[in-house]
């Protein structure tokens, strides 16, 4: 396969380089340095470029990161595919020994000291895992759905580093690997699994959040879930049957019974055994669908029945499971869902970061004028909570700009993925996109109080060499592979 043009690949890499992505990257790291300077600015006006400041140190990381990126761009694109497994194994070994060599920093043993630098191998393992997964999929005629062992191999590649990182007490980084399920989905894993995961989260949140109020004699949360289950049954029957008759009948059945119950309860004030009636309604519908499925030989309709049964079962087990959690874990969940107002303990960080962002207004308080961040009300403000500084000092405009930058970056990466001629490039690119999606969703979601506090950085913005280098490496390897896509067809 090697072509003669291989030897003069060096000049052509810049010709085929995706410069848009490079510019988005540069915009992000520069905005990041400025934010870090603002976040750690401490009234005595030190220079942004001073190496005593976080911003100065970050500039040094960025400088070295750019060198790293350049090295990657000048390297041989095929090298990454060739050495994917050895690199992966090497990373696993490093991850394995890290807890024994690392010092304990805030309960986590994940930092390795190399000379003057401290690095987190977990960040680099992301790259290796992405490469290994891509390598797996680039095997000859590899199809995820072809046999079960393919799933096992893919899951092994993802889960081994997860286990090793969990051993270092870095739950946040470990969770980031879960985002690789998006890649599996793209490569053929059933959407039902993702759908089930999303549904489980929705049921959990609704059941816990609205357990207090009652409607038709049923807790409002459970009422909502049961109605949602009805709608899902109708939707799935429609998708799997492609005939209007069945979903129409189901709609009439659900709508009719709900209406009658509501009239009896709401207008006539009759106390009903609400839960039993709702479950009965769904049960009758399930029997009806099952009969139809057998009669008309449509086994797929059983998926709808199973989904309904599992969702209802899950709903009942949520309260059970919730009560099994540790009190501090329960509290964290309740705080995130906005049920418990806790400004001292678990909710302090989130509340202060909400205050910081909320006080920014439309245009913000201006560069270096944020009181929340200057006065250290927001913890970890130059690392995990860097988005607060942007929200406070640059306001809604600045916050939206960051969101748009991320949207652009990820959509760009997806576009790059889809134009790859080979599964290796595509799978690797989707791994990159998945990591970014996860970090973006969790980090910003946590800062604005929509997700639980999981300590992971905002790529390219948060202070820290490991994360910056890790993501730089991730992105530039993608750019290198992409630039060479036409050469190795």
């Amino acid at each position: 396969m090697p072509s003669p043009r291989n030897n003069d690949a060096t000049p052509s890499v810049f010709k085929h380089l995706d410069w848009t992505t490079v510019f988005i990257y540069l915009a992000m790291v520069i905005a990041g340095v400025i934010s870090i300077y603002a976040a750690s600015y401490d009234f005595d006006e030190a220079s942004m470029f001073s190496f005593d400041e976080f911003s100065g140190k970050q500039i040094r990381w960025i400088g070295l990161g750019l060198v790293l990126g350049l090295v990657v761009l000048l390297s041989d694109a095929r090298m990454y595919e060739t050495y994917a497994y050895p690199v992966y194994v090497l990373c696993l070994v490093v991850l394995l020994v890290t807890p024994f060599l690392a010092h304990d920093i805030k309960g986590s043993r994940s930092w390795l000291s190399i000379g003057p630098m401290s690095l987190q191998p977990a960040e680099f393992a992301k790259v290796a895992t992405a490469l290994a997964l891509a390598k797996l999929f680039s095997g000859y005629n590899f199809l995820l759905n072809a046999k079960l062992t393919n799933y096992v191999r893919a899951l092994l590649i993802i889960l081994v580093p997860v286990v090793l990182i969990l051993l270092q007490n870095e739950t946040g980084s470990a969770l980031a690997y879960m985002s690789l399920f998006l890649v599996l989905y793209r490569e053929g894993m059933s959407g039902l699994i993702l759908f089930a995961a999303v549904l489980a989260v929705v049921i959990f949140v609704v059941a816990v959040k609205f357990s207090a109020a009652a409607f038709m004699g049923v807790p409002a949360g459970e009422f909502c879930i049961l109605v949602l289950v009805m709608l899902i049954i109708v939707g799935m029957v429609f998708v799997y049957d492609r005939r209007l008759e069945l979903p129409r009948n189901l709609l009439i059945w659900f709508g009719g019974t709900l209406l009658i119950e509501w009239i009896l309860w709401g207008l006539c004030g009759i106390q009903l055994p609400g839960m039993a009636l709702l479950l009965g309604t769904i049960g009758v519908a399930c029997v009806y669908i099952a009969v139809e499925a057998v009669k008309r030989h449509r086994p797929k309709l059983f998926i709808a029945v199973c989904t309904a049964v599992l969702a209802v079962g899950f709903m009942f087990s949520v309260n059970l499971a919730f009560n099994k959690l540790q009190p501090h874990q329960q509290k964290r969940i309740l705080v995130v869902l906005g049920i418990v107002e806790d400004l001292r303990d678990a909710g302090y960080n989130v509340n202060q970061s909400k205050i910081a962002i909320g006080s920014g207004g439309l245009t913000g308080k201006g560069f270096l004028n944020g009181t929340q961040t200057k006065l250290k009300y927001v913890p970890e403000q130059h690392t995990d909570f860097i988005y607060c500084t942007i929200g406070e000092e640059e306001g809604f405009m600045g916050s939206m700009a960051v969101i748009i930058l991320y949207l652009a970056l990820v959509l760009k990466v997806i576009a790059i993925a889809e134009r790859q001629p080979r599964p290796f490039g595509r799978v690797y690119a989707y791994c990159v996109a998945s990591y970014f999606i996860f970090h973006f969703c969790i980090n910003i979601g946590m800062v604005i109080g929509l997700c639980p506090v999981i300590g992971i950085p905002l790529p390219f913005f948060s202070y820290g060499g490991s994360s910056l280098w890790g993501f730089t490496l991730l992105l530039f390897i993608l750019l290198r592979i992409d630039a060479a896509r036409k050469q190795y067809n």
Partner: protein, 616 residues
């Protein structure tokens, strides 16, 4: 290479998922940043510690420029509840010499006080002694969230004039609702000048804006103090009060209940305003204020009640000069019209007693001897003169109008709180009581000699005295002579003229002069000074007659007009006359002449015993 287009479509699901999340986050940002002002306020209350800087309260001087009321610093222990971290309670209690129980109680009280908020400074303990302050200041770093606020308390040079000067109390929730100037824990004037001149005295509060970090440490001043607000000191007041005279009059009134009011006739300035019994104004300063205040309110002799302004008494014979003026003005009598007195007024089966003197008498001797019959006849001739007024009711309204113009029946408008208007009935009052047309002069004859329904305050009586001293005009009595950097309100500079022609006043004044020279007020005579006066002996439902006196001196160019009212003191000459004349002599001569020393001694040492009112 193969391409699975079914799977490629999944890029839309993945991209769409991200876009939905981004959309949700945008809405959340919109909500946080543009829709909710709360976060801005929270950020400000986080970062800015607004510390009130209290201005110095205006001082008070007496008419001779002697300092009467001044400021002393006090130190309050303040805290911001949400900044308080667990602290060594025992250490705190030891430092301030209080028991843990008391501290717990203070915390409870603080939480229950109006306007409590865990975000704003709250007062835990008021008015530390300077030793406690010093000790706490040293240890303050051990108690995060606590700080010391310097406050201003009052102090008084003399143990006198409590009713005039007033005192400071903590603002109530009503005060805070009514005036946005106040915050919980502020002080405001209570009673006296402190109350009525509060807007002048209090000044304008300042504010220091400090920057505070997440650990509650002060990082400096916001914008270098550029946005701080300097406090503006309150204005100093010069009172018209002669503090020495006030002290002297209070001593004379010791052991007696009643009031002494002295006015400078030419200006309407109040020289002394005594309400007896009184109290030491220093009782209402400092940490024991609450206790002492309760004690004073429980005292059945009502020391907090200002009898000089708020006491409404029957004026008795001190009312007679007003009658003479009205009768002259209405042409009912001339200066020479005589009325008979047969040991009293006897008419239509009615008898108002009088004492022995020559008969018949014209006005001046009638004033001199305080003849009841004379004024009854005059009143009857006026009220029942249908030819002139049409009805008794009309005549009575004319009579009343003259009295109102002299300052009776309504508040005079003194610059002190809690003034009473006294009581002056009108025709409607009697119509209601007796039925229209069913009453005449004889029905209500006692009002002509200041008895019956008529009530007046000692201030109104003193003002009448001042009006006669001025021969026909007065200036609304007032206690503040000058306000720093501003002029006195116009109402205390304007001359008010009763509806009586000025030519009649010398007649009445001469009658009063004669009363001192050879009438009921002989004890009022001061060696070397011509005095005019009128006694009063007021019957009342509370026991022995009230002893009253009003007068002025010198007779020509008067410099002082007084009214004295001693509850249950008997004849006017018993207490009213001597106290009134001693006050005038003290003011005019600075000392009491040796010949009058025994009288002074007698007044200083005499007490009247007031039996507790029987419980029913």
């Amino acid at each position: 290479m193969r391409k699975d287009y079914n799977l490629e479509k999944r890029k839309y699901i993945i991209g769409g998922f991200l876009i939905v999340i981004a959309l949700i986050y945008s809405i959340r940002l919109f909500d946080l940043q543009l829709n909710d002002e709360r976060y801005k306020k929270s950020a400000d209350s986080n970062a800015f510690l607004k510390k009130t800087v209290y201005p110095s309260r205006g001082l008070m001087y007496d008419r001779d420029g002697e300092l009467v009321v001044y400021n002393q610093p006090a130190y309050d222990v303040m805290l911001i509840p949400r900044d308080v971290k667990p602290f060594d309670t025992l250490d705190f209690c030891r430092t301030l010499h209080i028991t843990p129980d008391r501290l717990r109680k203070r915390f409870e009280d603080m939480r229950n006080s109006p306007g409590y908020s865990s975000y704003t400074p709250q007062r835990l303990i008021a008015q530390l002694s300077s030793q406690d302050y010093g000790r706490l200041q040293e240890k303050l770093y051990r108690f995060p969230g606590f700080f010391i606020q310097k406050r201003i308390l009052r102090q008084y040079k003399h143990a006198a004039a409590a009713n005039v000067l007033g005192n400071l109390r903590e603002v109530s929730s009503t005060d805070i609702d009514n005036d946005p100037y106040y915050s919980p824990g502020d002080y405001t004037g209570d009673l006296g000048v402190e109350n009525s001149y509060e807007p002048y005295l209090r000044g304008i509060k300042g504010m220091e804006i400090l920057i505070r970090d997440a650990h509650g440490r002060i990082q400096g001043r916001y914008e270098g103090g550029a946005r701080d607000i300097e406090p503006v000191s309150g204005r100093d007041l010069t009172l018209s009060l002669d503090i020495e005279l006030q002290e002297y009059a209070e001593k004379l009134m010791q052991g007696k209940r009643g009031a002494v009011v002295a006015i400078e006739p030419a200006t309407g300035e109040i020289l002394c305003l005594v309400s007896s019994p009184t109290y030491d104004p220093r009782l209402l300063v400092g940490r024991n204020r609450g206790e002492n205040y309760t004690m004073l309110t429980r005292d059945e002799s009502l020391p907090l009640f200002d009898r000089a302004l708020g006491g409404a008494y029957p004026p008795g014979s001190t009312f007679k000069p007003t009658q003479g003026l009205i009768l002259l003005q209405e042409g009912i009598i001339t200066t020479s019209t005589p009325y008979p007195c047969y040991h009293g007024y006897i008419n239509g089966g009615l008898r108002v007693g009088c004492h022995g003197h020559a008969s018949p008498l014209p006005l001046k001797p009638a004033l001199q001897t305080s003849c009841n019959a004379y004024f009854c006849w005059g009143f009857k001739n006026m009220i029942d003169r249908r030819s002139k007024y049409g009805s008794s009711a009309n005549a009575f309204e004319v009579w009343k109008k003259h009295l109102v113009s002299m300052g009776y029946g309504y508040k005079l408008g003194v610059d002190l709180p809690h003034e009473s208007r006294g009581f002056l009935p009108n025709a409607k009052f009697y119509n209601k009581f007796y039925g229209e047309g069913h009453w005449s002069a004889n029905t209500i004859i006692s009002v002509s000699i200041g008895q019956g329904e008529i009530l007046s305050t000692p201030l109104q009586i003193a003002n009448l005295s001042a009006t006669i001293a001025n021969r026909g005009h007065f200036i609304t009595p007032h206690i503040v002579k000058a306000i720093q950097d501003t002029v006195l309100p116009e109402e205390y500079r304007r001359v008010r003229r009763p509806t009586i022609d000025q030519k009649w006043y010398p007649e009445v004044a001469e009658g009063m002069h004669m009363a001192v020279l050879g009438g009921t007020c002989r004890r009022a005579a001061i060696p070397g000074i011509e005095v005019a006066g009128k006694t009063g002996t007021a019957q009342n439902p509370h026991g022995k007659d009230h002893s009253a006196f009003m007068g002025f001196a010198p007779y020509e160019n008067p410099r002082i007009a007084v009214a004295v009212y001693v509850e249950n003191g008997g004849w006017g000459a018993n207490y009213g006359v001597p106290i009134g004349s001693l006050v005038m002599e003290k003011y005019l001569c600075d000392s009491i002449s040796p010949g009058r020393k025994p009288m002074e001694e007698q007044m200083l040492n005499s007490t009247i015993s007031y039996a507790k009112p029987k419980k029913q």
